[in-house]
Subunit: 339 residues, 2 copies
Amino acid sequence: MKSTIKDVAKKAGVSIATVSLVMHNHNRISSDTRKKVQKAIKDLSYFPSRSASNLVSKKTGNIGFILTDDHFLRTEPFYTRIFLGTEFEAREGELYILLTTIKSNFSEDDPLPRFILNKSVDGVIIAGKIPKTLINRLTLSNLPIVFVDYIDSSGNYPVVLIDNIQGGILATNHLINYGHKNIAFIGGDIKHPSISERLIGYKKALDTAGINPDPNIISTSYPYPDRQNGYTSAKELFSKNKNITAIFACNDAMAIGAMHYLKDAGYGIPEEVSIIGFDDVEADLMLEPPLTTVRVPKIELGAEAFRLMKSVLEGKSLSAKKILVPVELIVRKSTRDLN
Amino acid sequence: MKSTIKDVAKKAGVSIATVSLVMHNHNRISSDTRKKVQKAIKDLSYFPSRSASNLVSKKTGNIGFILTDDHFLRTEPFYTRIFLGTEFEAREGELYILLTTIKSNFSEDDPLPRFILNKSVDGVIIAGKIPKTLINRLTLSNLPIVFVDYIDSSGNYPVVLIDNIQGGILATNHLINYGHKNIAFIGGDIKHPSISERLIGYKKALDTAGINPDPNIISTSYPYPDRQNGYTSAKELFSKNKNITAIFACNDAMAIGAMHYLKDAGYGIPEEVSIIGFDDVEADLMLEPPLTTVRVPKIELGAEAFRLMKSVLEGKSLSAKKILVPVELIVRKSTRDLN
DNA sequence: TTAGTTCAGTTAAACGTTTAACCGTGGAAT
DNA sequence: ATTCCACGGTTAAACGTTTAACTGAACTAA
């Protein structure tokens, strides 16, 4: 039923090698023959067998995509969007993406993803922060690895990152331009490189504006950046300093949590307190007021990671190329111009 | 570097056929030989090449998993959990899951998922409601199809479903047992089979309790079951009938929307109005009060779908087996006992 | 003793590609 | 006229499995 390269060759009256060469756009073939073959391919709706071609080319044709359970199931679809970007980009080509999750607390004894163990992938894309022990063990497999939105400090890997410093500056400058001076920072986990970079951006912007950042209004000690911790951080911040007029939260989930606190505490948003988030997730638009934020192009991040992986596989790319994806300020209603 | 079946054969001093037979637990092999071979396999950490074995067995070793973008990116991780269940279950075996999304408004002209086009899967799992036109076109490919949490009315396919009627009864009975009589129903889209079944359960429970359902407090005309529509439905319901003391919402997103309305309108939950949802998503616990709901075992649904697919592939299962997965009442704080 | 059967393992073909090496033809250069 | 080369295509080996058919040894039954 399913047609093979032989059927095509017979129908076009050429050898199977010719068909193969046509499939790969090899230029050894005259355009006459090429057309004949292409017609045959179309008529028989021929698709080459992946197994056969992988077998001889010693590729698997798959890319593994690793996420932690937490990230995959996150309420705000952030990493799922990144995955989707990778999938979209892969659709153009021959490679398939094998998605798997690992436990967030992946330990020394947990088995590696099976596509690593039985060598069913040509490379691995890792999205978001994952346990160090996994990275170490992955390295042993000698597979090309590309990181997205996270890079282990020690590692020298190709990576696609958000331009976090720029984002931090963008957000902070927006507030500064709106006349704010007491700008609180809600970071969540300072050990996360993205957060520390956004903090750098924040400080840099403050510095160029000649504002001295009050360490009391910087909160960076909550390990998990969710709504709950956004709420708690905001509460803590206001207990230390009542003069805060604006908050820069390092992701929208924490921003939403902080907004909840502000409402509970009776602060008007943005009349009394302005707030800006980071990520740009759907929920932002449902909020009252809609959240001003820094947009992270999630689909683009995933697509870029795939392209990077491809160029690594083709040997085109230097082994540790870093790509910084720019972010964009999205002004909505949660920040107020004091001028 | 990577060892092949030949290496194992040489090391164990047998033929490659013997190795293959051992790998497949064939009983033609003496336990002595078997042990020798297994040792060699382990020593060389041999894994058979998927390409090679797929090539000869004419399988792809992959299962496609199709979701709409909407479902994949849904704020409440419902279908992503189902996918994860499938992935978990697949991890035990040899099959890989290829996840892809299609546009929710998939039309006649949109291309089929590429794994269908180039025949890279042995079967397809479809989760959630997808456009009819996709189903029709999929059928032409002659691939085994398994549905999860949705079944096209016309179709006679193997399917894993939630026991929606039971769920409807469970939810409604809970409210009845708590002494409620004016129980509103928020369904979203009545054309969705799950919703119509839950409505059946609702009416059945009311009926056995001798309560006559007021058609005015049944809302089933919003196409998309999200928070927004939950809010709107509740508002509408209360504008028609002020005596409602309880709401059964067909998913937690709509329940959350309805809760928002209740709060905005000044109704105490559960003092004045009780509310029960359906699905059991993480967000439920964050709510104030935490939402009583009907738990859908999402991971289990996905796992069951995979098992069903496997048995279909092995020819074990009748072509149109239906599996009903039971649901469970989770009582939290959003419903009040009037007795 | 002989023929048949079972057991445990081997042989070899087949799966559908890719690609290095080869080949024949026609023209260009000498 | 001879040599060379470019062009356009073909041949055939190789990739790593699975499995039907085969083989040889040991045992059984008559």
